[in-house]
């Protein structure tokens, strides 16, 4: 497999790998001197090609970009880059009733405001039932950068339903939405779209046993594969 990976530098530098191969190559090349140099050189070639097809964007774009960056925090220089492929899920079983009860309290605390406002009893009962399910996993996701808020996922292995509880997330922007991904062996599987606040029901499009979970911001309606930066991930 290693020999195989070495031949992928060209296709990788042109973003011409499928998601699975891209992930495998990204796990490989930073530690392989030959591949790393090839990737850097081929990207420079692609950069030259890009420079040869310059097009001036419309002038109004400049102000929009500058307005947006004025409100966008930068990454810190030293912090390590998160490598999804090496993340392992926090698979905390809530088998013990005590833990389930504690989780239920926490979950209701997280989303209680919305539930009480909407007085949606079915919703509340469903959440309570989900977290009380001794086979359900309660999974907390952590922000990768400066994202605000908290995300908790309730999911029972072997099922495709997810319950996503969000609290105080950043507005994803107009025409955009938060999307949950289950990080399966074959790549990220869509696991539900959700609001910045409150509970949402999601569904895995494929029955997987994920090694972790992640959240990205995607165009409205969601994507079949992540296109945005990871904003929350299991640690």
């Amino acid at each position: 497999m290693t020999t195989d990976l070495h031949t992928l530098a060209g296709a990788y530098a042109l973003d011409a790998l499928d998601p699975d191969e891209r992930r495998r190559f990204e796990a490989h090349y930073p530690d392989c001197d030959t591949c790393r140099v090839e990737v850097e050189e081929f990207r420079a070639v692609a950069g030259e090609v890009a420079t040869s097809i310059r097009r001036e964007p419309p002038a109004h774009l400049r102000d929009q970009v500058l307005a947006r960056i004025a409100e966008t925090p930068q990454l810190s220089p030293a912090a390590p880059v998160i490598d999804l492929s090496e993340r392992r899920a926090a698979r905390r079983r809530t088998g013990a009733l005590l833990a389930a009860a504690a989780a239920a309290v926490a979950v209701i605390g997280l989303s209680g405001a919305l539930i009480s406002i909407s007085n949606d009893r079915d919703r509340a009962e469903q959440i309570a039932a989900a977290v009380a399910d001794p086979d359900a996993l309660v999974i907390d996701l952590d922000p990768t950068g400066d994202a605000d808020g908290a995300i908790r996922v309730v999911w029972r292995p072997g099922t495709t339903e997810t319950l996503i509880l969000a609290d105080g997330l950043d507005d994803p922007g107009s025409g955009r939405v938060h999307q949950l991904w289950a990080l399966g062996a074959e790549g990220p599987v869509p696991a539900g779209l959700f609001d910045v606040e409150g509970p949402s029901e999601g569904r895995l499009t494929d029955l997987v046993d994920p090694a972790g979970w992640a959240v990205t911001v995607e165009p409205a309606g969601g994507s079949t594969a992540p296109t945005g930066e990871i904003v929350f991930v299991t640690t």
């Binding site: 296709a11 990207r43 030259e48 890009a50 420079t51 774009l61 500058l66 995607e218 594969a225």
Partner: protein
């Protein structure tokens, strides 16, 4: 980036600075990494045509390209503190992020569906349809000459992958080649371009 040859660039912004050298770009990015927004404005003026050019080439939709360009620049601002000049020039760094974002958007099913409806599944456009672009003639001539030096299969494979946003497996299917051959043609084509363009990261 190979040899730096000062060359006058046509610009639409009359107040734009003269063509920055890689050194000046590195200076700019150092300031941007410290949160200097006016340095970022200068960097935008310098890189916007590269980013827009590559994004538009891949997505072939003005509105979508504008949206992606915004995302790309916000991303460049965000990750600027982690820019490593040992790994890439500033323009390569920007082009890399822009191209990946454009390709990822195109591959998301929604965008792909819309694009295919509009294009009636025609093959991705080649290099020739950008003659109307605002170009640096020197850059263009050098790259055009280098692409012309490739074998037909190498050139097609690289253009389908880079401009068309295809995976090498899709390139293979489009050109009716074995998958391994498409992968190899992309790589040996890039090696030839690298040598021809005198690129050293």
């Amino acid at each position: 980036m190979g040899t730096v040859i000062p060359f006058p660039r046509r610009r639409t912004r009359t107040d734009a600075p003269s063509a920055p050298t890689p050194d000046r770009r590195t200076d700019l990015i150092t300031r941007v990494a410290r949160g200097d927004e006016s340095a970022f404005a200068e960097l935008y003026d310098d890189l916007a045509s590269i980013v827009f050019g590559v994004v538009l080439k891949v997505v072939r939709d003005h509105a979508m390209a504008e949206e992606i360009v915004q995302e790309v620049f916000v991303e460049l601002w965000r990750v600027a503190p982690r820019f490593d000049p040992e790994r890439a020039s500033v323009s390569t760094w920007a082009a890399t992020i822009a191209h990946r974002r454009a390709v990822d958007v195109v591959r998301s099913s929604q965008a792909r569906r819309a694009r295919e409806e509009r294009d009636g599944r025609r093959a991705p456009a080649g290099h020739d349809d950008v003659v109307e672009a605002v170009l640096d003639h020197h850059d263009r001539q050098q790259v055009t000459a280098a692409l012309a030096g490739l074998t037909e299969t190498q050139r097609q494979a690289i253009e389908l992958a880079y401009f068309g946003g295809l995976t090498y497996a899709e390139v293979a299917a489009t050109l009716d080649l074995p998958i391994g051959t498409a992968k190899t043609r992309i790589r040996d084509g890039l090696i030839r371009l690298r040598d021809e363009l005198g690129v050293d990261r």
